[in-house]
Amino acid sequence: MSMTAILGAWIAVFLTLGIFSYLYKDNPFYKIAEHLFVGISAGYWTSIFFWTQIQPNLFGRLWPSSEFSTDSFWYTIYNGLGYLSSSVFPEGGIDKGHDMHLIYLLPMALGIMMLLSLIPKINWFARWGIAYTVGMAAGLRAYGYLNSNVIGQIKGTAASFADPNLPFFSLTSPSIFNSIVILVGTITGLLYFYFSKEHKGLLGKVSKVGIYFLMISFGASFGFAVMGRISLLIGRFVDLIKYSGSEYLNATVWVLVIMIIILGYDAFKGSGKGTTVSEDAV
């Protein structure tokens, strides 16, 4: 086993147990793990975004190697940028299979405007970039939701009634009974969210049926949420067991013992100012 793998295992164990230690109470181990996670995630995402989109797809379209020319003013600017970073702007243009598209100066300008939000005096520039993003996302999503969530779901809810081959009742496969349940659930659930009339009389009774459907749905969501969390816990435990082996220098055992001693000493001295989980919930 290489030293890098062993070191990685020790770090993984420390961070896992550091996060788990919050279940006892808020403490420095948890804080270290939390801050490392936030910092590393931000750095990792920035790096990945830059090297998978900005460098190849933005700069790669503005200064492609296929149209590189030493006489061109445009590539003189590029060569100047190359002095700043030769890995981002390599000699001879960026070779990512693109042709030149100067229209990409527009998204670059909008991106720079977004970054200007860091300068208070001219932070209003950022609104242009945000306006573009909001408009684009709203248009894109409106179509997707209308097509798949409205039309597709209505079709799915109604289609089963027209199928003569369906059995009347089946627990595990499509049936007329299941279609009726879906239809009743959909209509009563929708009526529960109809607020233009007071929920009294027939509407009140129907919307109450809708509440029961919603409660069953929330129950199922809760069940699935529990299942998901337990799955993740199992995953961490499997790794902790693996790293407790002698090939990893018993990382789990040592880190666990050291953490318990330090947290125990802290509790014994009564200096622990961290909040217990139970207090958090109050």
Binding site: L23, Y24, Y44, W45, I48, F49, T52, Q53, P56, N57, G60, K96, G97, H98, M136, L140, R141, G144, Y145, N147, S148, N149, G152, Q153, K155, G156, T157, A159, T172, S173, P174, I182, S217, A220, S221, F224, A225, V226, M227, G228, I230, S231, L232, L233, I234, G235, R236, F237, V238, I241, T276, V277, S278, A281
Partner: protein, 281 residues
Amino acid sequence: MKAFTDLILKIGRVDRRWIFLVLAIVVFIPILTPIGMPIRATVTTKVVYDAIENLPPNSKVLVSVEYSPSTKPENHPMTISILRHLFKNDHKVFVTCLWPDGQFMAQDALKQVADEEFGKIYGEDYVFLGFRPGNEAVVKGIVSNIRKLYTVDVYQTKVDEIPLMKDVNKFSDFAFLFTSSAGYPGTIEWVQYAADPTGVPISSGVTSIQVNEVMPYVQSGQMQGVLAGMPGAAEYEALIDQKGSATSGMDAQSIAHLVIVLFIILGNAAFFIERKHSKKY
């Protein structure tokens, strides 16, 4: 009877850290000493299996990886099982990622299955296109012109130089899509922007939390089945007859569920007894 109700009330007031400890123990023990509880495939899992099984040989299948190490125990066994099934049936696999971390998860799965288990040749049997930022815009880009979005693969090889990428220009060139998803962007975006508009069949493996969100698409026929969390992955492992990490985690999962159900019953019992007492006085 009073002693019993007092005991229930006492349990209802127990410090939640004891509950965490009990759960940790009941999860830990079955991992160390597996019981081997039976695993039977549910209908939704079987539909995914059949959809892949019924694909003609040498079909072009897009596998999209949308999860990070945080949901690895749920999603990774699904990805591995699906890749095993696809390579076993000699399909051509194209891998994309909508999540940056998904790239490393996909790399790990491909190394294990394509390289080590099946000895598949990169560029001829499978292509790893990798991650592109942009969420649903990436899905739209793949649907309209995949070559515009991916001019190079994850190893910076131009896609024009990859033999398997010949005749692959847009999403409708694929015969099937499987997405292993842990949230946004993921399964729902693939249904909305790719599968529904083009009619290319889609199946998905999702985390347990997502199951309720994607189930309506399965019921309406917009998706062909779904692998629901770790149990879904374990069921798929049983169907392809290759046990993996999901199967080994199912004992702990089942016992933990029983204990949680017990806690819920006790908590509710304590709540109702307490309410009854407070009404009395």
